[in-house]
């Protein structure tokens, strides 16, 4: 086989590290809440807001209704202005006449009425169409997290900040919600089964361990659980829950009856001890959850935000981007050591051959079970302290 060691070494491509998922006990979480189009901001800097406080609102122009008026009247497009009874900009009510024609000396009268309440937007001599703009649709953006308004984005929205614990998942389903945290299992290795979900969990954020089963999800939906957080889920169960295969990881719009946050990956995956302990410490606290995931362009991960009053320690971008050094705690995120946790022991500069035959940059990790293994640098993520 024509191996490509030399060539790969010569290309000297650098590998860029991506920081791992965030699991922070205390941090400042800031959320920019924006309208899709310009509107009015309803809060000011310094305001204290709750989850459901409307921070900005606007009106989306109504849906246009296109009426092929000339055709209905049996007229030419350019003759249309002669037949309309309402001008551009005038308000019209549903059922109100907007155009009419007389033929056969007035014996046959054709009339067109508006199909909606709205405003006359255009009368086209080119196409013979009338367009009526429907009533504007109100659009509102709420705060999503309780906290303080630290910045107002004129005409667009506001930035809300809060002191909170912050946990990122790896994959989620469903959108924004909130509820009280409830630990349904005793250890991160335990499966979340239906018997562990009780009627008292209605509106709660229920924490499972290594795997949430389809039966447990079904029960949670029946009861009205707001959100489930677990280490893993099988491919088959995600497909059943969503009703189809997940093609690309762009989620958040699903309506499956709850929000789901997976912290580790697909399959049975013990929730990381750190995440589990942190959530346990905040059992009973109100938290905000969002399953929205978008891995391409933007890397949006599902999140759990637990506002609290503990002292804040700021973490700068520089610290996050510090990269890997011997001693950095990491999690291996691909076979054959998927899920194993350990500490980096060395970062050889030279490319090394791995079992697949590729020459790649590797690092050695001393696993929690005492073994030292070599893995591609691309296959680990930093566990942020």
């Amino acid at each position: 086989m024509a191996e490509r060691k030399e060539e790969s070494a010569n290309s000297r491509e650098a590998y860029a590290y991506t920081p791992g998922l965030k699991v922070k006990r205390t941090t400042t979480v800031s959320k920019t809440r924006k309208l899709p189009i310009r509107g009015e901001v309803c809060v000011k800097v310094g305001d204290t807001v709750n989850f459901d406080k409307v921070v900005a609102r606007t009106q989306l122009s109504g849906n246009p209704e296109i009426i092929n008026a000339a055709m209905l009247l049996g007229a030419e497009a350019q003759e249309l202005p002669e037949y309309v009874t309402k001008g551009v900009g005038e308000k019209v009510a549903k059922g109100e006449a907007i155009a009419a024609s007389n033929s056969l000396f007035g014996f046959v009268k054709k009339q067109i009425t508006s199909p909606v309440d709205g405003t006359m937007e255009s009368i086209s001599e080119a196409t013979g169409q009338i367009i009526i703009r429907g009533t504007p649709v109100p659009v509102e953006t709420d705060a999503y997290i309780p906290g303080k308004v630290v910045e107002v984005l004129p005409g667009e929205g506001a930035v809300i900040e809060t002191n909170a614990a912050f946990v990122q998942g790896i994959f989620g389903i469903g959108g924004e919600t909130h509820g009280k945290i409830r630990m349904a299992v005793n250890s991160p290795n335990e499966e979340l089964t239906p018997d562990k979900i009780t009627p008292q969990d209605k509106g709660s954020i229920v924490i499972g361990g290594s795997l949430v089963t389809m039966e447990a999800l079904t029960r949670a939906v029946e009861i009205g659980v707001a959100c489930i957080v677990a280490g893993g889920i099988t491919h088959r169960d995600v497909k059943t829950l969503v009703g189809e295969e997940i093609g690309v990881a762009i989620t958040g719009q699903e309506e499956v009856g709850l929000t789901l946050i997976i912290t580790e990956g697909f399959g049975r995956m013990n929730m990381s001890q750190r995440t589990f302990s942190l959530l346990k410490d905040f059992e009973g606290y109100m938290a905000c959850a969002n399953g929205a995931t978008q891995i391409r362009a933007g890397v949006l991960r599902p999140e759990l935000i637990i506002p609290h009053e503990e002292t804040l320690k700021r973490v700068s971008i520089d610290e996050l981007a510090a990269g890997m050094v011997p001693g950095t705690p990491v999690r291996i995120i691909r076979l054959p050591y998927f899920g194993a946790i350990g500490k980096v022991t060395s970062l050889p500069v030279e490319l090394q051959k791995v079992e697949s035959g590729s020459y790649v940059r590797v690092l050695t990790v001393e696993l929690d079970d005492g073994r030292t293994v070599s893995v591609p640098r691309a296959n680990v993520e930093i566990i942020e302290e």
Binding site: I131, G247, V248, S358, A378
Partner: protein
């Protein structure tokens, strides 16, 4: 001029490629990469460019950035800087467009091809006959937030009222641009020229309107170039200037920033024009698969926006069916197990296979992504519809008039680029993936990109073609070799073809192939051999069934592959027979380490 720097600001990674003049020849020197910084908290693409360039600086010891690091020094003052800097970009989702035309298979299809050819991702195609009611179209337009709209419709002096209907529909939907709330959405009008003043009157508010020559001035001709140029201009003027940091990046380079696939397309065209051959090219990326064809004078690009090897890997599974991925595995692995691996790859897209088993799984997905990408391409690379076609007597019996003009027998060159293809541990793996997926027929030369620099060289070729081709030829294009494959079906063991190769050392190699067999003959890069291929009467290698073909075959890092598996390629239905034949091919061609593979059986 001694130094050239080219970057590609990708959706995840910014890739810098550094070229220099060595002994009168332009060559590739080093590559630097860094994460793209288009999103929060950075929101400035130049940071990622700077980081990638810093890597180049570290590796070469040659300073490129100014003292303060806030710009690339152009031209080189002898000590610091480069003489030319150019870049492509697909950050933040690339160029996303909506196109509209009058008839789905005519002007709308021409507009679709033009938008794709310009390097965009087409979010939707609106046409009068697209099967949706006006209110559904309006809802759809309102929900999309494109970067730009291309509006076509009608031949010059032809249909007008219905074209205006489409324009009025778009106008009424009030589409909003994706980036920024304050800028006007660019619209390119490339329809019936007699409607220009009416379109101008209708769309003078809320849109940044550009009017260009009709994309379909007459039914018999398609004129996509003016629309494509306008799209590139607007991409720079409107879209790029609203993306974070691009205003700064635009000041760093005097060469217009080009969408990445447009750069890649130019590189593919460079291959076709240099060799004067028909080319089928593919960029198999993490999120998308771009297929390019240059057949005769026609250049077509298709993008399968959700077929890719990382972000979209599960969409390949969804589109192809898990069973079609598993069929390429010579060992036993359950469908649910494979599905789970792919789901985990999707959520952690930057991971790479560590085990051979994982590598073979990814290669199986690649075959299916490429197969589907080509299928999609064929739906775009079609004859112009709406024209009366003369049917021969044979066509009448055949009943079906082939829509696409892509015939694998007419393709002379296949070229591949993208992470998976470039990073395969053995080039033989890349070659077989391309052969299995595209199923070339006759004699086909195979190339691949060495370290992802086709987009860079594509944009460079717009200003300095000589340098671009020099690097392209010497450092970018890896000659894999040539595949000789027979079209036609048969049964295992049946004689298919005999191949006689007059090798450069004067020796003659003769191989007789039976149905289902594959063989590999070594012929080094930049060497050629004369081949005489004699197929049996059921089989065709380009001269017609049973007719001998003489050709010059190109050597490469893999050599010559003789493929007698027939076309279309069919794998046995029985699980055991399928695995056995896959192993046979892998062994015959030394695709994977056999001992390692045996252990997995």
């Amino acid at each position: 001029m001694r130094f050239i720097l080219a970057t590609d600001v990708g959706s995840t990674t910014t890739k810098a490629r550094f070229f220099h003049l060595r002994e009168g020849e332009w060559r590739f020197l080093v590559a630097g990469e860094a994460p793209t910084t288009v999103e929060t908290p950075y929101e400035d693409v130049t940071l990622g460019v700077r980081n990638a360039v810093r890597e180049v600086e570290e590796m070469t010891g040659h300073r490129i950035l100014s003292e303060s690091g806030d710009r690339i020094v152009v031209p080189c003052d002898g000590r610091i800087g480069v003489d030319l800097y150019c870049t492509t970009s697909s950050a933040g989702g690339g160029l996303q467009m909506m196109v509209a035309g009058l008839i789905k298979t005519m002007t709308a299809e021409s507009a679709y091809r033009a938008a794709l050819g310009a390097g965009s991702i087409v979010m939707d195609v609106i046409a009068r006959d697209d099967g949706r009611r006006p209110h559904q179209k309006i809802q759809r337009i309102r929900s999309l937030r494109p970067d730009m709209i291309l509006l076509a419709g009608g031949i010059d002096g032809g249909e007008s009222a219905h074209v205006m209907e489409i324009a009025e529909l778009i106008n009424a939907a009030e589409p909003k641009p994706r980036l920024g709330v304050d800028y006007e959405l660019p619209v390119v009008y490339a329809g019936n020229k007699t409607l220009r003043s009416q379109i101008e009157k209708l769309m003078n508010k809320g849109f940044a309107l550009s009017i260009v020559d009709n994309i379909r001035p007459v039914l018999e001709a398609e004129n996509t170039e003016p629309a494509r140029d306008a799209i590139h201009e607007l991409f720079m003027e409107h879209v790029m200037s609203h993306a974070p940091g691009y205003t700064k990046l635009m000041k760093w380079t005097s060469v217009p920033i080009m969408p990445t696939p447009a750069g890649e397309g130019l590189a593919m065209r460079l291959i076709a024009s240099t060799y004067k051959m028909n080319v089928l090219g593919v960029g198999l990326g993490g999120a998308t698969t771009n297929v390019y064809s240059i057949v005769g004078e026609r250049f077509v690009r298709s993008v399968s926006a959700n077929l890719g090897m990382s972000y979209s890997v599960t969409n390949v599974m969804k589109s192809a069916g898990i069973e079609n991925i598993v069929r390429w595995l010579p060992f036993k692995l359950g469908e649910e197990d494979v599905a789970m691996r792919l789901m985990n790859k999707m959520i952690r897209p930057t991971t790479i296979p560590q085990t051979l088993e994982d590598l073979v799984v990814e290669h199986s997905v690649a075959r299916e992504a490429l197969r589907l990408g080509l299928e999609h391409h064929k739906t775009i690379a079609t004859r112009l519809k709406g024209i009366r076609v003369e049917r021969t007597l044979a066509d009448t019996f055949d009943q079906k008039l082939e829509e696409t003009y892509i015939r694998m027998m007419d393709i002379d060159i296949i070229a591949g680029t993208g992470g998976l293809l470039s990073h395969a541990p053995d080039r033989m793996q890349t070659m077989l993936i391309l052969i299995d997926a595209f199923q070339p027929e006759g004699v086909t030369r195979m190339f691949q990109d060495s370290v992802f620099m086709m987009p860079h060289l594509g944009v460079l070729s717009t200003v300095y073609e000589k340098a671009a081709w020099s690097v392209f030829d010497k450092d970018c294009l890896v000659r894999l070799g040539t595949v000789i494959a027979s079209a036609g079906g048969g049964s295992e063991g049946e004689p298919v073809m005999s191949v006689e190769l007059a090798m450069p050392d004067g020796k003659t190699v003769r191989e007789d192939l039976r149905f289902g067999e594959m063989k590999r003959v070594s012929l080094a890069e930049r060497q050629e051999a004369k081949a005489i291929v004699t197929p049996q009467k059921k089989f065709d290698v380009g001269g017609g069934a049973g007719h001998k073909v003489e050709s010059t075959v190109m050597g490469g890092v893999v050599g010559i592959i003789l493929d007698a598996r027939g076309r279309p390629l069919r794998l046995p239905d029985s699980d055991a027979a399928r695995k056995e034949i896959l192993m046979k091919w892998f062994q015959a061609l030394s695709v994977y380490p056999t001992d390692e593979l045996q252990k997995m059986l």
